[in-house]
Assembly symmetry: C2
Homo-oligomer: 333 residues x 2
């Protein structure tokens, strides 16, 4: 009997197989715009001339509270950022909680407060919800699902890269995954690594106003390596990344080396990878750097004809950037 294993949930290649065969086997999978078949960050439903974007994420991160954030902040930002990745301003979110009997109400209150603060940053509201309580032992604590709608004049896809485009990262990579891992394992690495969990709509809005954004994706589960490979494959292009231009914090690089983890393979929760028109790249970069969470933005590569993702290494070599088999950090979001 084939069964689900942890790698099925890690956002990498094994998950993609399950997704392709089982979890997308709906014949009713599109409501007229961009549907499930696109496997983008969200769907687009045209309603009376408006492009409504719809997306969802369930959140099971552990620990519930970690340096730089908590499950509540991730629950709001995760969904708001998926809307932003489609070029949509987040408007309204749902919140459905599944809670284990015995969960402490003051913890719940702290989570709700954190969600409310994140909503304020996003400019969105939680407008409806649902709550289920499971008997002790049926769930380890709490799981939070959010879904959300946004609106966009022009949807942005993850498959829109064109040869000649420039690749921008809105900031440093690997922060969230390493923050979770070091917090969970109690490693003392000198400097505390903080999660980057934050809403990115402000970055996206500023970038789109400054020039032509062809493709976007947020590098969550599976990290940058997974996101950039999906973008390249879906767009039918080759992406070339310059290693020396990749923004990675020193503390994140050190912890990664110590733990034997590639910081490009772990989740970020407040970053955007964009492909933009080369002529607009400097203006878009400047616009991102003016945004609240975009100060460390960098141009990290470019798009050519071909396939796969190539790293141009600091010492003048080349190697593939492969999508990870799975995220090396389980329950990261």
């Amino acid at each position: 009997m084939k069964t689900i294993d942890l790698m099925h949930g890690a956002g990498g290649a094994i998950f993609a197989e399950l997704l392709g065969k089982t979890l997308t086997a709906y014949t009713h999978n599109n409501a007229g715009g961009i549907g499930l078949e696109a496997l983008d960050d969200g769907a687009v439903i045209p309603i009376n001339g408006s492009n409504i974007v719809l997306t969802t994420d369930s959140h099971v991160v552990r620990p519930l509270f970690f340096p730089g954030g908590d499950i509540g902040r991730i629950a709001v930002c995760g969904t708001a950022n998926d809307l932003a990745m489609m070029g949509a301003k987040p408007i309204a979110l749902t919140c459905a909680m599944i809670i284990e009997e015995g969960f402490e109400i003051p913890q719940l209150e702290r989570i709700v407060k954190s969600m409310d603060e994140a909503l304020g940053e996003c400019g969105a509201s939680i407008v409806t919800g649902d709550t289920k309580v499971l008997e002790r032992g049926a769930l380890d604590g709490i799981a939070i699902n959010t879904a959300g709608i946004g609106i966009t004049e022009k949807p942005v896809r993850d498959c829109g890269l064109k040869p000649g485009d420039v690749i921008i990262s809105s900031g440093t990579l690997g922060d969230h995954g390493l923050a979770i891992l070091t917090a969970r394992e109690g490693f003392d690495l000198g400097e505390q690594i903080h999660s980057d969990v934050a809403p990115v709509w402000n970055i996206v809005e500023n970038a789109m106003a400054a020039g032509d954004v062809h493709a976007m994706k947020d590098p969550t589960r599976g990290g940058f390596s997974n996101a950039i490979n999906e973008m390249a494959e879906k767009s039918g292009v080759q992406v070339r990344i310059r290693e020396e231009d990749l923004p990675v914090r020193r503390s994140v690089a050190s912890a990664s080396e110590l733990l034997g983890i590639n910081p490009l393979d772990v989740a970020n929760e407040g970053k955007v990878i964009m492909g933009v028109a080369a002529n607009d790249a400097e203006e878009i970069l400047a616009a991102i750097r003016r945004s609240k969470y975009g100060q460390d933005a960098a141009i990290i590569g470019y798009v050519v004809e071909g396939s796969s993702v190539i790293m141009e290494t600091s010492i003048g070599g080349e190697r593939f950037i492969e999508p990870p088999i799975g995220d090396p950090v389980p329950r990261v979001c």
Copy 2:
């Protein structure tokens, strides 16, 4: 330390307290239309002249497969029906699954197939999703969240009852709760009780075309008793129900008596309670009876000035119908 207990998830009075104090403590709770503060079946967000309805439900029913349905059918119908309760045609749904390591993939395939069939009946599509996998022991099997959007020209509320209105039930009451309970406990009651889980949009559409529907609610967790009390309280009216007109299957009544459960206190998953203009009541009733899942519809009561819900008993007496403290059947949806 105050902690969550099972009654907090049962949709009754204890849950209402948690909901009022903790789970609705968002300052960002409305996106311009009907928001979280209304605690209705869904929210309404006006976008460029359209009324977009948004709703969500997480599904944790046990067993996963039961007479008359399964968790997949409930996951689609639960959300589609909440949209219908706001007067909205279901358009697009999300599907977010949390799955325990070791879950059998053929079971997952069976659930997806059931969801797809229910979507076909609803006329809606699953357009986007999310999947998380938890380590063995962190969840007992699977939890499925769906959220959905629909569109309505004129939202229908649960607070719109007016003195003089007639109360209609679209069919028999208590079927789902008793089906789950008897299936779970393995009771042999002679006749198998089947869940009523089904999409009700067709009922709602026909009813609204036939006359003036003032208020709707689907009697899920907490059953008819909870739904009708919420409608009466929010509308500021008294509802009077005639016991002899309440449609309850004989098998459901027998099982309820045997188990000491009130069939009006347990969940239905394919029913609507409506308050309609008295002049339109017969036409609306006929329209509901022409609908696929509305053959057993009945006029069951009426609305007067005052407060609370009164049962006019078969033997000529009167008693209150109280909202249950909690649903006597845990994990019913």
